[in-house]
Symmetry: C2
Subunit: 103 residues, 2 copies
Amino acid sequence: MNKQKRKSLEKKGWKFGSTEEFLNLSEEESSYIELKMKLSANLRKLRTEHKLTQVELAKVIKSSQSRVAKLETGDPSVSLDLIIRSLLALGTSNKEIARAISS
Amino acid sequence: MNKQKRKSLEKKGWKFGSTEEFLNLSEEESSYIELKMKLSANLRKLRTEHKLTQVELAKVIKSSQSRVAKLETGDPSVSLDLIIRSLLALGTSNKEIARAISS
DNA sequence: TAAATATATGTCAATTATGACATATTATCA
DNA sequence: TGATAATATGTCATAATTGACATATATTTA
């Protein structure tokens, strides 16, 4: 992960501590973020393909429009659990989820 | 998912409501559980391959032995986030995680 | 362009996950 | 066997995530 990417993520609310800490930021942390980002992007793709608005998707997953927005923009306040559950609610199979992660 | 499987999961603390509800239990819910189970199993496999005890893994991921046990036994109280983070802490790549999900 | 529709951002009380601890159960091995 | 190490289970106060709401911003359409 480079400085550019860091700035973009920090703007979204991700916290990374000192620059030093960031520079040796573990593979772990960046893999985790990358994973979430990929699945978030996939969720938006799926929703639009299904021609649903965020309000409509919110109904399906029993959540709210604002949370759907956060899901799709990679807000750090959303859990992987919710992202995955949302994907599954849209009919995504585990294999497709795996594909999205690998992509 | 069959009745056998259901009993086993309920013993672990999963909640499914009425039998009726369970019978039309969405693909969604069972996929979600299946996903967690696969990753949990993978975590245990990895830990033992690394010849770590649960206490040692707990140190690595800054958690406790009891939570590691719950991670590995598919306790419903553990999040996908923690499972994934633990896998990543053990050096698992996103691609490997994807493979585990697809398996 | 203005109105309407869609999405984003901020906040918060309630819900859920967390690490920690105690303790029970299960495996290992002398 | 019995001691010791490893894992499992139960509980709880604290921390993190949640849906909901208000409202801002962006996009579409008349």
